[in-house]
Subunit: 211 residues, 2 copies
Amino acid sequence: MKAKELMDKNFVYLNCDDTVIDASLAMEDVRRFTCPVVNENKQLVGWVTSFEITKGLRQGNDKISEIMSGYEEISTVHENDPASKAVILTANNKFVTVPVVNDDNQVIGMVRACDIVELLSELYDIKVYKLYEAMQHQLKGVTWDELMAASALVSKKTTGVKISPEEYEDNIMNSTFGEAIWATGGLEKFFAGLISVGEMVIARKVGKAKK
Amino acid sequence: MKAKELMDKNFVYLNCDDTVIDASLAMEDVRRFTCPVVNENKQLVGWVTSFEITKGLRQGNDKISEIMSGYEEISTVHENDPASKAVILTANNKFVTVPVVNDDNQVIGMVRACDIVELLSELYDIKVYKLYEAMQHQLKGVTWDELMAASALVSKKTTGVKISPEEYEDNIMNSTFGEAIWATGGLEKFFAGLISVGEMVIARKVGKAKK
């Protein structure tokens, strides 16, 4: 996924000569706390947040050029950069938005923290039983009940707590990938548990075939 | 993970009688675009964003009570709610922050979109080879080279493109879980691919044991 596929195109941009009052109205209208400032060729030259606007309104500044942050202070991503670059910038710098530029340094969109949350939370919200369905589909000839029985055994081995295959099924029907990762203590451990289930199922299949 | 473990405690809160000017200074100082308004018992009674502040400064409003949103318009999470509730609220409503309250409806923190991005991106950024290490650890007696050879075969089967075990290893060393999910077309498919590798490795182990 590229930055341009994740960006919000409904942003406001300002010019150096815009008044602080007009900028505040535009930002309220589109409900954006941050705004790129561009020149006549729509190239990025500065940056304004609501903090500069409130300060400018208090001080009675007239033009955006008097209050904006300079170009050198802005972090950008290129439209063809991987989306993950914008994610990392946002996470490390606690950004609300990261501007997306093209080859000519024109601002063509903004990656917003809330859009990243939406994207990542879709992954986080996948139900665990979907992964078991994928596993069953992959391990041809294994029934759902065999999978649940193996899972209950692996769970007992790992946690020391006895659980029936039916209880196990109830658990995974209602829990998400995100919850499972937190519950098991990380992606690697969650994944190791699933591999362990797969291994047990295959061992049982091989055992049956021998008989 | 609970909402209280994810929340930011370094927030500003306002009172109804605070002036708009003082509020703007406080929000600039801590760099927060959103602020809960509380009563004398620190209970949530209203909400202010930089949009209300800029409007209030333009209009010459004096007190926060004149510009704040009412209590009924605020979405909150309880400190003991699962963190995922704040994630879903943020994703669905494009929030920048969600206030966290206790049993007495006192605001004790704020979950920010950028903090959620940081949390979720840690998961997203895990290197794929870490999952292979977990798989190798789980499938006792399997070497890393056997795992790479099986992976190259599964990859060829799935994509139709021939790849050497060495090339495969290079790929997974440099790619993240997030990238792998996008590349394979979703978590379930990515996971099914890994199960398929595990299956092949086990089949080879069983084959060797028979000889």
